[in-house]
């Protein structure tokens, strides 16, 4: 193995690479998310005509995957490196492959494959088509062309690249157990994350007050609705994220039956769809300020503004 970058170096290399490609470098969101996709920098910004190129790290919580810090590859919280390119450029695959080169992965010395994998997020009313990208048999990235978000057609289409940071790191560092990874020189992954992994697992599976959480879910849902009524897109979306995380925790705790599950998902999706619509409307009111081509922006505004 030529490169044995630490996790920190991997993040820096990706930041550097995508910075050079003209991406806005953002930071993780401050509300719990299950994936980088849930961050409003992706979910909401994938909607509408505005150009949007962004990259960020997203610590992603998956309560059901918690294993008390004992499993070599499953984590309550892992890290994703998320890139959104909108509209998806014609050379997006080449851009992605060059990012692997930037990490020291020479494609000629590996087996890199694009294996069909379609993505769907029922809670967001979102789906897309694409691949998982295999590096010598290991899935290291999810590559998706968003087709719909919040039930709305994406136009133009964004390409989403989601790198599994731990996966890539364990490959580069040739490590079998995620806790043996080097976060930065001299600091192991275990020394930082073993305790929270254990505690979050214990909390989720043994301690969490599921009755209280069910109430939270209802409260968050209600508050999201109130924010929506006041046309406050981002606050409403934050409560949707809260709902989603609470749902994940309830689900992991085994507190949701199969039939109830569908109804929970449906409730979150209903909110997400309303928010998506409202986001578009509000961006339209602002005349899509991120569009460089102002004439085109004006055309979009005309197209999307309902005639009175």
């Amino acid at each position: 193995m030529k490169s044995s970058h630490t996790i920190q170096e991997i993040i820096m290399l990706l930041n550097d690479y995508w910075n050079k490609q003209g991406c806005i470098l953002m930071n993780p969101y401050d509300v719990e998310t299950g994936a980088g996709t849930m961050n409003p920098m992706t979910t909401l910004r994938a909607l509408g005509p505005e150009e949007w190129n962004v990259a960020y790290v997203e610590p992603s919580r998956r309560p059901a995957d918690g294993r008390y810090g004992e499993n070599p590859s499953r984590l309550y919280q892992h890290h994703q490196y998320q890139v959104i390119l909108k509209p998806s450029p014609d050379n997006v695959e080449e851009l992605y492959l060059a990012s692997l080169v930037a990490l020291g992965i020479n494609p000629q010395e590996h087996d890199i494959r694009f294996v069909e994998d379609n993505w769907e997020a029922p809670t967001l009313g979102a789906w897309g088509l694409g691949w998982e990208i295999w590096l010598d048999g290991m899935e290291v990235t999810q590559f998706t062309y968003f087709q719909q978000v919040g039930g709305i057609e994406c136009q133009p289409v964004s390409a989403e690249l989601t790198y599994g940071i731990e996966r890539i790191a364990s490959y580069l560092q040739d490590v079998e157990d995620v806790f043996d990874l080097e976060y930065t020189k001299g600091i192991s992954y275990a020394s930082i994350f073993r305790q929270p992994e254990f505690e979050h697992s214990k909390y989720t599976f043994e301690v969490a007050d599921t009755e209280l959480m069910s109430r939270w879910f209802n409260d968050y849902e209600q508050e999201a609705g109130r924010a929506l009524a006041e046309k406050l897109v981002f606050p409403a979306y934050d409560y949707v994220l809260k709902c989603s995380h609470t749902f994940n925790q309830l689900d992991a705790a085994g507190a949701i039956s199969v039939s109830a599950r569908a109804s929970y998902i449906g409730r979150v999706r209903t909110l997400a769809q309303k928010i998506a619509k409202l986001f578009l409307k509000e961006r339209c009111k602002l005349a899509f300020p991120l569009m460089k081509d102002r004439k085109a922006a004006q055309k979009w505004v005309e197209e999307l503004t309902p005639e009175n």
């Binding site: 000629q108 087996d111 069909e116 088509l129 010598d136 048999g137 079998e176 085994g254 039939s259």
Partner: protein, 722 residues
Amino acid sequence: MNTYLLEIGLEEMPAQMILPAIEQLKTLANKTCEQHQLSFNDIRTFSTPRRLAVTLAGLPEKQADRIIELKGPPAAIAKDSENNWSKAAQGFAAKNGVDVADLEIREFEGKDYLFVQRQELGKPVPELLQEEAEQWISQLNFPKNMRWGSYRMRFIRPIRWIVSLWNDAVVPLKLEMVEAGNDARGHRFLSSGKRLFSQAADYEKQLEKLYVMADFKKRRESIISQVKKLEQKHGFKVELDEKLLTEVTNLVEWPTVLLGNFEEDFLDLPSEVLITSMAVHQRYFPVFEKTAGSHSTTDPNEGKSSGAGKLLPHFVTVRNGDDKALDTVRRGNAKVLRARLSDARFFYLDDQKRALEDFRSKAEKVVFFQQRGTQNQRVQRIVELSVFIAQKLELSKTQQKHVHRIAELSKFDLETQVVYEFPELQGLMGEKYAHLKNEANLVCRGIREHYHPRNSKDSLPEDVETVPVALADKLDLLTTAFSLDMIPSGAADPYALRRTAQGIIQLILGLGLGLDPEDLTYEAIRLLNEQQKLDLDYTKLQENLLDFLLQRQRWFLQERGIRYDLIEAVLQNQPGKKQPQESRGSGALPVEQLQFADFLSQHLETDIFKRSVEAIVRAENISKKYPNKIVEKIDESALKLPEEKNFFAALQPILDSDQNTRWTPEKYLKQLHSIEPVVTGFFDDVMVMDDDPVKCGNRLWLCMQLAKWSRQHLDLQALVFA
């Protein structure tokens, strides 16, 4: 010799969609040539994950000139009263660029019309292809399309380039996102720099130099021969499952086969877990010890390890590239497999720590279908329905005990961690775990085999004790879904209900079970209705179920090669035909209908059978035509003519003998043939519709009884003779 090449360059297509797409492209190209009367010597197609291509070789420079004939307005309006060409005629001539003098009048379907002959000059072929090739692209059909970038087009995956070449010249072709050129794109990582295709005819050869094997078959052969070399070198056997081989061939442009290893400890895991991890999750080929009986390709529907020896701690995978740094690739793949197998081992050992009953209590929380109870309640229904069927099949008390146990344990493994991770191992893990808990072999096997048959080619359960459970499982799924109005229509069948119903028919007919679908469906509905305290409409639900099963029965008979009209004749009077209750004549069981169809297939074309059919159909038609004239009861004393006496005498024993015994096709045919001459004679010499109401009524009664008897067996009216 002219060659045209069209190459559509794409981002990686889903593997299973490539071959169907290339077939479509071939059809479209052929259609163009046919429509435009273009001759060619050879059409070839090429495909890789990143390209779909077709070459047409031996095309002419120019389409041949053609005389085409066009029909115009009717001759009646071609001339005016003064015998001058009318406006309509002049317009028709002008439109086609000819003089009115060239118009001809000819008959077409009994009427005279104006006709004109026009010479159509052949177009240069490249010009023609320019328009057509664009159509090929837009007419390709995929099950799921996508959009990308800011383009409006929908396609399987983004189109990134087009090559459209007439010999050495680009045939211009423009899509929204790309213009055709002659850039030769090679393997993504192995070729670099800009290259051009020099000749359309050299497409395959040139790509080969750029590390792309464009021909699917050659790529497949290359993989097979590389695998064979490994087999020879190491003396083992690689199982090349056909479906997986096709998929892998469609994942690579330049295949290099490599051998990897995993730790021997993992061989303690059930081999199916190992094989699934390798074949399904990683697309690796598993490796077996060589035995005398092993063969190179295994039927995917049979057991995975049939014919081959013990599983070995190796795997074979195909890299999309050459053999550079092959060791890195090998180690990477081994690492991934190791992680997967460690996970599987953890689950496998953890599952074993629990009692089988524990899993069942877990299933209490799992909802099967909304408003239709939990998984445990479903199992309870399967248990009761299984025992009901076992009794119908007259199984012994001991056998029934086994049936009960198989049914009880049929679904526990769905709650195990291994099945959660590897859903395709349902049943099989149940068998393994039940073994470890010392359940009887028969029961263990039943847990696995009650899922059979899983498709039209799958085997049936080995033990008679498994059969009731196999039927009950499928009947309950079908009934539950139908009770929620989830009845498949069109292509949509998310719960595979067609296959489920088909399984029921395969079991009943394949094993020759004397079961009545009416009994089975009624009991299944009753169990569901009572357990869930529903208020189901029995009649409607049962009718839907029977109808659905009947369709699958028809399918079964068709697959067996039974003549279409005979199938209809045999399946007569079924609920699907919505006939009134009393005429649901025979109450024939599906298995009896099958016997009938099989037996009669051999006799359909004999003269005596044809005459018999004619006689019975005549009798049926006339008795149906005058229902009010038939006497209530025959007046024997009024039978005077020898033909009617003979008829009555021949009919009597047939009606009597059929009273209380189940009929057989042999007996039916014998009786049919024996009465035929009598009936034919009767129709030849006796006037049925006599003026005397008693005579007439008697004769109609004879016809009616005969027809009724025959219809209890099959509907002869359905038969069609050439």
